[in-house]
């Protein structure tokens, strides 16, 4: 079976046409800006982690096009169920990046209201969110809502999880309006995609009875066009689609990982030539759609964003100790209340000791 990969912009920045994916109303400059900003956000977060200000960071380096392209194809009413690396999607949904910084600093486990930006909390346990997305989509069916659909993000590793297969089954059986957006970044920490599947991931959809498409995940235009069409199909009652965005994790799995133990530098170099941002910049410059001033403005904006994030991160207070007991249940709970009171008394004991010493 031949593998077709949808591409609308080559790594050299040449536009190519695809009969099934005409590019309409694509704000290419806007896409470029988003990708540059999220890459800067990402590099600043890595720096903050290195300096001990964040506990961890999961870098999206290399996956900017897959995330920005797909997220820009969504309508404001579409619902997103992300994994834990979807900082570019979060950005496009309008979520304040500080919500992500807080989480990776260890101040919160999320905090945002998923409905506010139609962007669910990050899901760290691999693949769990694909079932939530499917169930949410089944809710849309029951509400007879025709202008909403659901998209869920996951990686190549997740496709091995039972929950993801179950999500495929349910979405297919119930014809749910959900798009499965798999960023195949070639690594489940150290394991290559061949450790997860003998067939290309997008081809697995046919066994479940819905279409699967592979798109050049480093081509923001293709990711945009393919996602736009899949979401439209979902909204119009045509059921689920699996999109495999073929991309590459340029960084480590997270800041605790050491990829030199399992991958070759030459492979990294080969993918560097397919950088998702450089090709858009080349296209914009060559076509005259953007000039040097535009690129300078975006770079300046990116640096300003980094400065702002750093300052806000350093200013983050640790949560008050007793907030550890908040929001466990809808109302007051006897066990939690008793433990809160005990711990408050325990902490007060230290204050008294300090007072006595003064």
């Amino acid at each position: 079976m031949t593998i077709e990969t949808i591409q609308l912009l080559t790594p050299e920045g040449e536009r190519v046409e695809h009969p099934e994916y005409p590019l309409v109303d694509a704000d290419i400059k806007g896409m470029y800006r988003d990708m540059v900003l999220v890459r800067r956000l990402d590099s600043e977060a890595i720096a903050l982690q290195r300096q001990g200000e964040l506990g961890l960071w999961a870098s999206l380096l290399g996956q900017e096009a897959a995330q920005v392209g797909s997220a820009r194809a969504l309508s404001p009413r579409d619902m997103v169920f992300p994994s834990y690396r979807e900082h570019g999607v979060a950005w496009c949904r309008g979520l304040d990046p500080m919500r992500l910084i807080e989480m990776f600093r260890g101040v919160t486990n999320g905090t945002w209201d998923p409905e506010e930006h139609k962007f669910h909390l990050y899901t760290i346990v691999i693949g769990d969110q694909t079932l939530h997305a499917t169930g949410y989509a089944m809710g849309l069916q029951r509400d007879a809502s025709e202008d909403e659909a659901v998209i869920t993000y996951f990686g190549d590793g997740a496709t091995s999880q039972g929950d993801v297969s179950e999500a495929f089954s349910w979405a297919s059986v119930f014809h749910a309006p959900v798009v499965f957006f798999c960023q195949n970044n070639q690594f489940a920490i150290s394991a290559p995609p061949e450790r997860q599947s003998r067939v290309p991931i997008y081809q697995r959809a046919s066994g479940f009875g819905f279409p699967g498409i592979r798109v050049d995940g480093n081509d923001v235009l293709a990711c945009y066009a393919v996602t736009q069409q899949a979401m439209r199909a979902a909204r119009e009652g045509e059921g689920p689609t699996l999109i495999e965005a073929f991309t590459y994790r340029m960084g480590a799995h997270t800041t605790t990982d050491d990829p030199t133990r399992y991958r070759l530098a030459s492979e990294l170099e080969a993918w560097r030539l397919r950088d998702p941002i450089e090709r858009v910049r080349a296209y914009l410059a060559r076509s005259g759609e953007a000039d040097a001033t535009f690129f300078e403005q975006v770079d300046t904006e990116a640096d300003e964003l980094a400065v702002k994030l750093r300052a806000a991160c350093l200013a983050l207070p640790d949560p008050p100790p007793l907030s550890v007991f908040d929001h466990v249940y809808a109302g007051e709970n006897a066990i939690v209340a008793a433990e809160r009171a005990q711990y408050a008394a325990y902490l007060a004991g230290f204050d008294e000791e300090e007072g006595a010493q003064r």
């Binding site: 260890g106 760290i124 999880q161 450790r195 990982d257 100790p321 550890v324 466990v328 433990e339």
Partner: protein
Amino acid sequence: MTRITLSRAINEGLRRSLENNPKVMIMGEDVGKLGGVFRVTDGLQKDFGEHRVVDTPLAESGIVGTAIGLALRGYRPVCEIQFDGFVYPATDQIISQLAKMRYRSQGHVTLPVVIRIPFGGGIGAVEHHSESPEVFFAHTAGLRVVACADPADAFAMIQLAIASDDPVIFFEPKRRYWDKADVDLTAPLSEALPLDKARMVHSGNDVTLLSYGPLVRTCLEAALAASEDGRSIEVIDLRSLSPLDMATITESVGRTGRCVIAHEAPVYAGIGAEIAARVTEECFYSLEAPVLRVGGFAVPYPPARMEDHYLPDLDRILDAVDRAFAY
């Protein structure tokens, strides 16, 4: 004697088991080339090959389910679950299949599967990477549940677990992986303390402090701090959570008359509750105070910047000890 980390000690125990028994296998996510995220399996795939040290697809239920099949075929799989919070997809295979197969088959089927789980907090991790799920497994008949606390014991315990004909859930205290101690790598396994025995790690007269895994070290520090105040704490490392070595526990509490149990897992319906009930039943007339517990709160494991409040530290353990003397 070799001075090595806890991570290395388990690695050496695995190595020895792989050397001594061709049926022993290791399987899990990233255990091969990467050597595991905590490097516990470092170098083993290189030395024993991809058939014996298997990088699996990313699926915990699959890891345990296929380990059961391999065990049915005569292998002794040692599964690695990457983090405590990732074991739940495998709980169906563990609880419904692994734990019950011997019983269902009236003893015809033996499943010598070991499931290694790095557990506990204190490393500033993100969600699902700091949990203490041991009670779910201790509550399940058919499983042995153990936790190692220091390098020398871990070296022996992992080998004993692999040699056991029962399925063993083997908890490793992840914040102690880099603790170093002298380990005799030539020590014969026959002389090791059996897997189901607790051990006294600090003798004392006034109170018995029971713990396991990451808090054993904290309890030892508490005993040292208390001795400066003239209070004599006996510290027992439980090692086995199922079964419990009640003989060692009651012997100690019978002498000291006081008992405090410390674990990172929530106090509510935790291992400490089981011990407290049993100690109360068996040592009732020796007790000077109620059996007290100190542990995690009845809340989900909190974000990293709050974990120091959640985790019992030296002060909270000594506070519990003080309370035991208030009666």
